[in-house]
Subunit: 336 residues, 2 copies
């Protein structure tokens, strides 16, 4: 492949047919306003050069975007994001759309840059797991946007999310139901999802007539397994440790479980979002989870409808339900 043969472009077609680029563009895109004799010269040149159906030609058509959707998402090695990517890719492919990926690792400036880049590539629409900050710059981008997992500020657009507050309530009620009264919550620093899960945790306490011990609401400095492991070790070393832990994400749950390998009195644990091997661990892990594939599929389907102009309804807010999957760790009774 080192001596790369140059691929014919529309400019080669124009030269060969002895016409301007604008004429080629008109012929490729339907031939309006082009004399039949000229059009047939262009078609002959296209055939001679082995010119294929070409996205660039499509992009030249006034008002037409390329057949690509962009997906702006966090760390792909987080199975939650990988599942969204896979599911949205499958839906897009069924409609002949490719997906351009922007991975942004939770950095507002990087996200903005990635989005501008993608808009510059003439994508037909954007799926974004938004970082915090203002997204009003998207309003003028001229492409439809669907937000996933979290809402964004400064722009009205479709949103597909899970019921974070309901899931948080479910997890906490489950632990309260096993007789736990000292339930810690470990929060990854997300401006939205884990905040809602905390609301559910508080609501469950309130409904049960209990006051939350604020020393058990632990804000992690970052959402990593390592940070959760360290915080859990410190939590369980306290004179009066919690008898149950609600881990607000899958990575946090992993950190909690790693720390608990060194702990004598095992607290009950409920995670948020399911993960591979959760049922294979020494004590299988109880989680609250939603259908992550459905999240990706729904977002892609919505976006394709917006891009095609078949969906012209006002922006929608779709909330997918959460369910509790009891496996063992969340059913441990309180130690004394």
């Amino acid at each position: 492949m080192s001596a790369e043969p140059s691929r014919p472009t529309m400019i080669d077609v124009a030269k060969r047919a002895g016409v301007g680029l604008g004429t080629v563009s008109r012929v490729v895109n339907g031939g309006a306003g082009v004399r039949a004799e000229t059009a047939s010269r262009v078609h002959a040149a296209i055939e001679a050069l082995g010119f294929q159906r070409n996205e660039v030609a499509r992009a030249l058509r006034p008002g037409k975007k390329s057949a690509s959707l962009a997906l702006v998402i966090g760390d792909l090695t987080n199975p939650f994001y990988a599942t969204i990517a896979k599911a949205s890719l499958e839906v897009a492919a069924q409609s002949g759309f490719a997906v351009v990926l922007g991975s942004v690792d939770e950095d507002p400036e990087g996200e903005k840059r990635a989005i501008r880049e993608l808009v510059g590539r003439q994508v037909a629409g954007l799926m974004i797991v938004p970082d915090q900050g203002d997204h009003s710059f998207l309003a003028g981008a001229g492409v439809p946007v669907v937000f996933l997992d979290r809402p964004a500020h400064g722009i009205e657009a479709d949103i597909v999310m899970v019921d974070n507050e309901g899931g948080g309530r479910l997890a906490t009620e489950h632990l309260l139901g096993q007789g736990h009264q000292r339930i810690a919550i470990l929060l990854a620093p997300s401006y939205y999802t884990t905040g809602r899960r905390l609301r559910g945790y508080r609501r469950a306490h309130r409904t049960a007539g209990l006051t939350v011990d604020e020393s058990l609401v632990v804000q992690l400095p970052e959402g990593t397994t390592e940070a959760a492991e360290k915080a859990t070790g410190e939590l369980m070393d306290r004179p009066s440790p919690p008898t149950a832990i609600f881990a607000s994400t899958n990575f946090v749950a992993e950190g909690v479980l790693r720390a608990l390998r060194l702990v004598a009195d095992q607290p009950a644990v409920v995670g948020f979002d399911d993960f591979r091997m959760a049922d294979m661990l020494p004590t299988p892990v109880t989680v609250v989870a939603s259908d992550t594939e459905e999240l990706g599929r729904t977002a892609a389907t919505l976006l394709l409808g917006r891009a095609a102009g078949t969906n012209t309804r006002p922006p929608q807010r779709i909330i997918l339900p959460c369910a509790l999957i009891p496996r063992g760790s969340g059913e441990r009774p309180p130690f004394s």
Copy 2:
């Protein structure tokens, strides 16, 4: 976003400046052969319309591809593929390249279709985890190609792989070294990688002066966890079961471990490719693994060099080493 403002295109610029599309293209791409007065009209129109740096303009430049790389890869929920995607994305982004994803789930026809689609999108290069079959159709595509994880037939191109045979030998030698003589190998149906791992398994036996019992070479009907779980159950139900199992992929290892939860005499297990939670299972899992991130990074770096024309060497074959990570399951002695 329902009342979508139409984004200015080069056609709008051409209309406003009162010139042809070809003139706009020439101005955007350097202005050669355009009168200064005309060029300044075009620039004024560009400014008035808030026209941004635009990938379509780039694509119009003769011989220039868009600043996108394509990645054609299997199931993103397989952490091996997700890690490759993430690493190659990061390297591409550092050079201002986006990555267009094609996910193909091990289907040669789907792969061919996806590749043709991506080539039609004027990507600057292709990274492909190739399926079996002839890839000579890529030779005329006019874009550089780098293959990952497996070689392809019918085309000379860069390849970045892991040392599958060496890894297979390492796993088998490790088990032989613990005194195992009846070592089963469970093979996911890949035409290349697991075949090489089997070669390493055979070589280790030969070096140790042992004959392979062919009844212990198990070809799975598919590479799923479910298929591996079923085959392992049947294997351990035999009158003379193996005392050790070499699982040829991460999904196969998971299936083996699931089946072994119901087995009294626990065989030793070594997997190929590391996976999240491997060290957290009741018996932590010994694996042979390579640096999957390095695989993705190397492929993207090679491809960027080819796309930029800075790397004009003959096609390279880069083989990354494997290492054994002993954790417990591979160090079990033979049961009697």
